[in-house]
């Protein structure tokens, strides 16, 4: 799980071009949107693509996304339970 969380932080920084952030600065429970990392709606779409491309998870229900993308911790938990690759 710790490796997956580290991997997610690295991928999020790289995919979303968060140049001013480092892996160490993202806590597992930091909110990804709003006051946390401050991601926007386009970032949310990129996270959906990332889930599909890297973990074989297709998210179709927007309501699901709200709870999955709360933090690195919630993302990692969901990926562990649902990944197909």
């Amino acid at each position: 799980m710790d490796n997956l969380k580290l991997e997610l932080k690295t991928k999020i920084i790289e995919t979303l071009n968060l140049e001013d952030l480092s892996v160490e600065e993202i806590a597992d429970n930091d909110p990804l949107f709003g006051d946390g990392l401050g991601l926007d709606s386009i970032d949310a779409l990129e996270l959906i693509v990332l889930m599909d491309k890297d973990y074989g998870i297709k998210l179709t229900d927007p309501k699901e996304g709200k709870s999955i993308f709360q933090s690195i911790q919630t993302m990692a938990t969901y990926i562990e339970q649902n990944r197909t690759k």
Binding site: T15, L16, N17, L18, E19, D20, I42, D43, L45, E46, V49, D52, K53
Partner: protein
Amino acid sequence: MNNNFYIKSSVSIKKHKIVLDETEVFSSATDGFTAFSKEAYKNFEINYPKFFKMDNLSKLAFLGADLLLKKQGLNATDNDIALILANKSSSLDTDATYQETIADKENYFPSPAVFVYTLPNICIGEISIKHKLYAENSFFIFEDFNPKFLKEYSEFLIQSKKTTQVLWGWVEYFKKDYQATMYLISKEGKQVHSLENITKIYTQ
């Protein structure tokens, strides 16, 4: 009539060099525009993380506009500045990048973050958001640099009282070749807004 309009301030970005009001303010020997723009961003302490999410055309236009507008020392209410930009290649460079994400049916992952930049006028939006500009704006695409049309159009906007100043720019980016020539036109200034002076800034 031409003498009623002036170039208040100008900026040129090309060949890894930035010239602001005829003075070189930054240069770099780094490889590629992305690295160059990042160095310039840090050098001028722009402090706007969304910059790194932009495509190269938007980064180029944003850098030029930011340097020009900051030099004016504008306050939050100075937003009556129209934005008139133009180029030759539209957003083709980013269009090609996006196309790569959808070319392979077996590996089909269209990128939303790339897709949003597949229109050239997005760079006008990026500048307007940062500097809170609400006046007229347009992005034109021409076969080649077309100062005559852009000069007349910009002057018309001021003459018809649509705005008091125009941020005018030729912002071209395609396959690693780039050039931004931007300036502010107003009723005040020292350099006459003539085709000769525009061409001088473009070729400097």
